[in-house]
């Protein structure tokens, strides 16, 4: 009985003494600055300008501004000699501790990416609360401009940017890339890194902006070395096997066809027997979802076959343009050819590699595309 009383007393004491309010430093939610997006630019004076888009915690529905607008988020811009120092400035200003675990996107200014992106990213690799899968993008102008753009009332800008970046695989126009994949490519001296370039465009009927997908930024030795447009980005997505759905307009006999990719697989075969040509095989399956003819004419087997061949040419052309711009012109090994060579023929790689383990030699590339038309919509084929 005595033991039980002691145990009960000990348990009761712990309820009052171990409430996590004393010695253990716990930051309450209202003391947190919940960050939705971060933008990093190099300042002209050599330091960093960090823009933070944070949830406005003034009231549950947002902060009532003097002009009557309700803002869900607030943008804070600070400068410092390092990203950490700039963020400390934000803490001092708001009196809150930044929480990065909710951040959706990390925007790097275009000029910053051109100088050295590693410097701008290092803080986010080490910071304890940063998410590994936060999306990374380069902005057309400065990151501050990008994050300060208004996308409408009661709209979280970071969410709009995140949705645009995530749409890539289904629309085939942008390479949404999480931080860990981007850094993996940057760290690997046998691969080229890439990430989306986005900008803003003013809407015609309002003061708001919308997201504009510019294309893809290509990096070589941690510096932005070139940008490919959205058409070439589509080709790039085929090359890196990241297309899950995309609409392909094809002009052929009788009108414009729209083909929707339902499945696409890419295989990259390294050179054999001492050769130097990589073979890229793209196998795509499409549905014909629209046939813009003048008189509702039915599709014939021959027409479908012509469209199929035209589609193969279309994909091959886009992938070819992407590889030319990225690999040959911007020196960005997006298909990781050097690494594939390292894997398939290590001794040959060792013999030809530079001292730091990188690879300068350029390979020839052959692209082979196979398109299969799965369905032609609800309509039957016309038999002649």
């Amino acid at each position: 009985m005595r033991r039980r009383i002691i145990a009960f007393a000990a348990a009761l004491t712990s309820v009052f003494l171990l409430t996590s309010c004393g010695g253990i430093k716990i930051t309450e939610l209202n003391e947190r600055l919940i960050i939705e997006a971060v933008g990093v630019d190099f300042s002209e004076d050599g330091g960093y300008t960090v823009t933070v888009q944070a949830l406005n915690s003034a009231s549950p529905a947002g902060n009532e501004q003097s002009d009557g607008n309700t803002e869900l988020t607030e943008n804070l811009v600070f400068k410092g000699n390092s990203v950490g120092e700039a963020l400390n400035g934000i803490s001092v200003h708001t009196g809150k501790t930044p929480l990065f675990s909710q951040a959706r996107v990390l925007i790097i200014g275009f000029d910053t990416a051109k100088k050295n992106i590693s410097k701008a990213l290092d803080f986010f690799l080490r910071e304890y609360t940063t998410r590994t899968d936060i999306l990374v993008a380069v902005s057309e102008g400065s990151a501050t401009e990008m994050l300060n753009a208004s996308f409408g009332e009661n709209v979280i800008g970071a969410s709009v940017i995140e949705n645009a970046l995530n749409s890539g695989e289904s629309t085939g126009n942008t390479v949404g890339l999480p931080l860990y994949k981007f850094v993996n490519l940057l760290l690997d001296n046998k691969s080229g890194a890439y990430c989306p370039v986005i900008g803003t465009q003013k809407e015609e009927l309002s003061e708001n902006f919308r997201i504009k997908i510019i294309g893809t930024a290509l990096f070589s030795e941690n510096k932005l070395n070139g940008v490919i447009d959205s058409n070439e980005t589509c080709g790039l997505l085929y090359l890196i096997d990241r297309v899950s759905s995309a609409d392909i307009p094809i002009e052929a006999d009788g009108g414009v066809f729209t083909l929707r990719v339902v499945d696409s697989r890419t295989k990259i075969k390294p050179p054999e027997n001492g050769g130097s040509t990589f073979l890229i095989r793209i196998n795509t399956e499409c549905d014909i979802v629209e046939f813009e003819s003048a008189d509702f004419s039915k599709l014939t087997k021959e027409a479908v076959e012509k469209v199929r061949i035209a589609c193969e040419e279309h994909i091959k052309k886009r992938a070819g343009r992407a590889i030319t711009s990225a690999y040959y012109e911007s020196d960005c090994d997006v298909c990781r050819f050097a690494r594939r060579m390292w894997l398939s023929d290590p001794e040959r790689y060792r013999a030809a590699a530079n001292e730091d383990g990188s690879f300068s030699e350029k390979f020839a590339v052959e692209i082979d595309v196979g398109v299969k038309i799965r369905r032609t919509g609800k309509e039957t084929l016309y038999e002649e």
Binding site: L18, G23, I24, K25, I26, T27, L125, Y128, T129, R131, T132, D133, Y180, K181, V183, N184, L187, D188, R336, R339, R340, W342, L343, P346, R350
Partner: protein
């Protein structure tokens, strides 16, 4: 049988204890092992662990499931006491090393700005309480934790596979075999769970060889799969992260289900609790076998205090911890406990029996 656990429960305990180390795995500082070569690291780890296990399992098979301290005591009281003291120190170090690693994990990814000595102290107190409840209680809890662990691990692996990229791997043994061998040796020399086979087998119903084989095979397979997926998914990014498996758990998601890291942290705390409590339990059994009397009333509390003291000294910084845990004295101490002590106890026992027979003749 009262006070005894089944082979499966023993397997669950040792597996849970070891898997905690894998969860909070920190690559050796000097390691330059490439992703694919981790397969060989695991193979070498397996070989060194088998070597380290041979003396303890041989003692159990040859001398009829007797613990090493009891075997040493059968030849000399002093030898029994010395052996017990060596094992008690080893178990306290093992628990402290594990808690230190866990503290580094917690203070790196959960509460970076917080001194978590209080949490650690409470964890050790709870472990002392669990140890006081006996082998069977720890055995039963381990089976439950093992099941939850298996489910979570499979889930994380399956949900991460979609992000797998085989190009993240490397050619086999591109940098030679030296580093791979050293990493395998280094990992095996931190496998203090081997000592459970030297002290706890008398409390297990079933074959010592089978339990050792099952433990090593399953643990190696899980480690292999774990590393394979981590390297395939995270590539060089994961290579730079202090806690690789945690990085993978952050990425695992299925539909609206995501952030499994928080769930897993809870399970890891349970694993840590089981490891600490079983270390204390093994230390108390070593005391009883080596000294030939029941462990003092406050043995577990004293043991948890000792673990806390060693932890406080060892886990001040990541650098200090990895240097101490991977130091030559620590490795030497492990192989002395795993190889030399059981062999010496067996030799002493055989010699004393021979002497007794000769004296009788």
């Amino acid at each position: 049988m009262k006070g005894k656990i089944s082979v499966f429960q023993f397997f669950a305990i040792v597996f849970v204890c070891r898997i905690t180390e894998f969860f909070t795995y920190i690559a050796p500082r000097e390691s330059t092992v490439l992703p694919t070569d981790r397969v060989f690291v695991v193979i070498f780890f397996l070989v060194f662990c088998v070597l380290a296990l041979i003396p303890s399992v041989t003692v159990a098979n040859r001398f009829g499931k007797i613990s090493v301290p009891a075997l040493a005591k059968s030849s000399s009281d002093t030898l029994g006491k010395i052996t017990a003291c060596i094992y008690i120190a080893a178990f306290i170090w093992s628990a402290a090393e594990s808690v230190s690693r866990f503290e580094l994990f917690i203070s790196t990814v959960m509460f970076p700005d917080t001194d978590i000595n209080m949490i650690t102290a409470l964890l050790l107190l709870a472990a002392a309480f669990a140890a006081a409840k006996g082998t069977e209680s720890v055995g039963r809890s381990s089976v439950t934790v093992c099941a939850v662990l298996a489910f979570s691990f499979i889930f994380i692996i399956l949900t991460s596979v979609s992000e797998f990229d085989a190009v993240n791997f490397s050619p086999m043994l591109y940098n030679g075999i030296g580093d791979t061998l050293r990493d395998g040796f280094s990992s095996a020399s931190r496998t203090w769970e081997v000592l459970f086979f030297a002290t706890m087998l008398p409390h297990v119903n079933g074959s010592a060889t089978k339990s050792a084989a099952a433990w090593l095979t399953v643990f190696s397979a899980v480690t292999l799969i774990g590393f394979f997926v981590i390297d395939g998914v995270t590539g060089q990014y994961g290579d730079r992260q202090m806690f690789k498996l945690y990085t993978l758990t952050v990425l695992a998601k299925l539909g609206i289900l995501e952030r499994f890291d928080d769930v897993l942290i809870g399970i890891w705390v349970l694993c840590e609790l089981i490891k600490s409590s079983f270390c204390m339990l093994a230390a108390s059994k070593s005391f009883e076998d080596g000294f030939g009397k029941k462990a003092p009333k406050y043995f577990y509390l004293t043991a948890s205090g000792a673990v806390f003291a060693v932890f406080t000294a060892a886990a001040r910084s990541v650098g200090q911890f990895t240097e101490i845990a991977g130091s030559v004295p620590a490795k030497t101490a492990f192989y002395i406990c795993a190889l030399l002590v059981p062999s010496a106890a067996a030799t002493a026992s055989t010699l004393s029996k021979r002497k007794a027979v000769t004296d009788l003749a």
